[in-house]
Amino acid sequence: MDIKEFLDQDQKKDLLRLLTAGSVDDGKSTLIGRLLYDSKKLYDDQLSALERDSKREGHAGDEIDYALLLDGLKAEREQGITIDVAYRYFSTSKRKFIIADTPGHEQYTRNMITGGSTASLAILLADARKGVITQTKRHTFLASLLGIKHVVLAVNKMDLVDFSKEVFDKICEDYRAFTMTLDIPDITFIPVSALKGDNVVDVSSNMPWYHGKSLLEFLETVQVNADYNFDDLRFPVQYVVRPTLDYRGFAGTVASGVIRVGDEVMALPSKKKSKVTGILTSEGEAQYAFPPQSASFTLVDEIDISRGEMVVHPDSIPHVDRHFEAMLVWMDETPMDSYTQFYIKHNTHSTKARIDEIKYKVNVNTLEKSKIDHFELNEIGRVVVTTNKPLIFDPYKKNHKTGSFILIDPVTHNTVAVGMILDKIDSSHLSANITDKEKEQIVKSGSLITAEQREKRYDQKAQTIWITGLHGSGKNELAYALEKELFDQGKTVVVFDGKSVRSGLSRELDYSPADRAEHLRRVAHICKLLNDQGIIVICSFISPNEDIRKQVKEIIGENRFKLVYMDTDIDFCRKNDNYGLYKLADDGKLDHLAGVDEQYDVPERPDIIINAGENGKGLERILGEI
């Protein structure tokens, strides 16, 4: 073969990205060093430098210490500082490889998550003498969390267990039992000796009982292209190319699916449709583009699509939502602060995000779940997230590109956490939990005037009268009648209802349960502030959820909170509906209306119950109560 043929062939190879992980001293560096060495990637001067280093710092006696090939920073070597991921490159006659090498030290979670995010295969090292240990389980869990479909368990140091089949079989069995509950479709076991070279590049004669491939042979032949999704088009628009006034190219990387000239496509979130008129890839004009290609396309209509939006086929639409659940990995030295509004970056789109709730934390060693209220470095858990603008996403399991995101601290700008979106949840399960932290913040004001002094001045007991009930139950009429009555008595009083608050204070929130909870949380805090100033507050909100009402009560304080329940049946409310909301909800034009598509929890212990149409009597009873 001459050099031209060699180059032509080399050019056609595909690329495999893999991750290596193992605990300290399992022989990972030795194994990688040998792969690099034996695949003849090392240049001679690197080798002679190696011989020099080996004499100075090596630990492998007179043999070459392959592990030294991999060390990078001098300072790191001297101070023993490790790095999170180091990338190694080698190629064989069949394939090119990029190894993300992650050290197994304390920061293993962060390291492995970083290195594994782009890997399609993971080699996990186990020491034959130790078998499946905690670290092995940890690494396996992280690989499955990242959705790595191919895992190789390389059982190393077989030379130290006399190349025993029994030892190997036992380890495989233990590992299989452990991985049953994890979602890893393809697991391969290979017994090796990294130091001596058995089954690394060539199949070893020391283990005639092993009939599988050598590690390198396996890496050269494993099929990974099938892992791409060519069905559901996801084209996140990254950049709009406008060289002239009449040319508008939407450029980006195809995340999944295939885009073709002539296709009808839809832009999200606008839902505007148009037809693809041309595609440009790095190789010039093309009829179609597919992942992981980079491309830019033009449309027949002049529709406005900007960076952060996504183009899809109308028959396969991703989720467009501001609420979702995700597995989150905390990557920052500074623990999570639950009040932070993070920047979230999700493919080409950036907005702000809040972690509403931590459902549980997973212990990476035991896989046990536990309740926590914030994350520390390297902790992993399931969270509920709300974003300011909707994300266009798929679950990570189905699509890594549209299901992954990072959180950025608004002050330090560090990447503090990374997340993998889970299947979209039914948001009615969301509750607006008030964390303990938040409660702590509900502190006494520093004013020199006491609440008693204020109440004396206003000649009233500051409190919040919270009226709950279905839309059309007469809450507002009652609220305003009460306000008038109190005003006439010379009291200082304020009324809040849905319209007044939603038009300003809560304007960016919608009627979904999570947003409603946030909306009412804000109202409750204002009530509390006003009560602290000695003012009476009357609130009129459907507030359909018992949990939320309880939280409102907690915020305002039990002794200042009176819950009034409008006990009216839905028929009465429908007749009394001045805005036609029930009609709209029946027609499916309005979501989340309590009593129609959203449950209304009857209060367990209201302070006052008012029956349909008896507002007059009700008014007296309330006045009596306060």
Binding site: I3, Q11, K13, K74, Y87, S294, N347, S404, I406, T415
Partner: protein, 302 residues
């Protein structure tokens, strides 16, 4: 294999283009550092593709130490003109006035003032908040763990212990005023990939990469080309014509040639696969100290 496959070069290319566009979209004022070398040439080609059929929306900048090979400067000016690039050429005028040069001040001082300091001056002058560089992770051991987006503080310093985690292809582009990011879009390319790509895409490169009879003096085992009359006479006296080529390009007194017959890309690759010297050892500065690249990076040169 199905119809939806691309080869490894196209895969690397797609990744790089994605990075380049991301920077153009997220930063106010990016710049692409252009060193005239083969890696830079590939990087610029990638940038052109990223915004086709439009123009590259940011300037290229060459930090000229005034000691580059003549052929490099000629190539730069001709190519930039042909392509209509927005090219900034920056020189450290103070250094020039002080007469700094490798022969008089040594490679260390020269590189620091004419290259590192010049770069920092230029970044400050134009207030660039992102600078693309053509470094690759396989060039040297210490680069193996370098980020694609490498964060620099207000003093352009790199802190190896404080780099942001980098996952998937989601890059954190947030910086405060004065801070910046060095971006390495061809991080994952190997030297062979670069040559392959140049071959596949027919990218013009400086002729110095190809073997030719050139006037050479031998200095401490390095083959140094006599490119102009700033070469001290006592050294220039020893000039001999030798058939050589360069594996990297920099300041001519600091860049060692290798004897070679390779006058085509194919032959270069063939030599590369068999020859015994890795790329950067032909650049004299690297001999200053072990892990010197790391040191230079902390100081602000990549």
């Amino acid at each position: 294999m199905n119809e939806y496959t691309i080869n490894n070069l196209r895969q690397l290319e797609a990744e790089s283009i994605n990075i380049i566009r991301e920077v153009a979209a997220e930063f106010q004022n990016p710049v692409m550092l252009y060193s005239i070398g083969k890696d830079s040439s590939v990087m610029v080609r990638l940038a052109e593709k990223a915004f086709a059929p439009g123009k590259v929306p940011f300037p290229l900048m060459h930090v000229d130490t005034t000691w580059k090979f003549k052929e490099m400067t000629q190539f730069r000016d001709a190519y930039a003109k042909e392509k209509g690039w927005n090219l900034i050429v920056y020189k450290n005028q103070k250094g020039i006035d002080a007469g700094i040069g490798p022969f008089t001040h040594g490679s260390k001082v020269h590189t620091d003032i004419m290259k590192t300091q010049a770069l920092l001056q230029a970044l400050d002058k134009y207030k660039f908040d992102a600078a693309f560089g053509g470094a690759r992770r396989d060039e040297e051991k210490s680069r193996a763990k370098e980020r694609i987006f490498s964060f620099r503080d207000r003093y352009h310093q790199w802190d190896p212990k404080n780099q942001r985690p980098e996952l998937w292809d989601i890059y954190n582009a947030r910086v405060h005023k004065g801070e910046s990011i060095r971006v390495f879009p061809i991080s994952n390319w190997t030297e062979l990939d670069i040559w392959q790509y140049i071959r596949m895409e027919n990218i013009p490169i400086v002729p110095l990469y190809f073997a030719k009879e050139r006037p050479i003096v031998e200095l401490d085992g390095n083959l140094i080309m006599v490119d102009d009359d700033r070469m001290p006479k006592e050294l220039a006296m020893m000039t001999r014509m030798r058939k050589v080529r360069f594996r990297t390009l920099g300041c001519y007194p600091l860049t060692g040639a290798i004897e070679s017959e390779a006058d085509t890309i194919e032959k270069i690759v063939e030599e590369m696969m068999t020859v015994t010297v890795s790329e950067r050892t032909t650049r004299v500065i690297d001999f200053d100290q072990e892990a010197s690249m790391e040191q230079k990076k902390r100081e602000g040169y990549f």
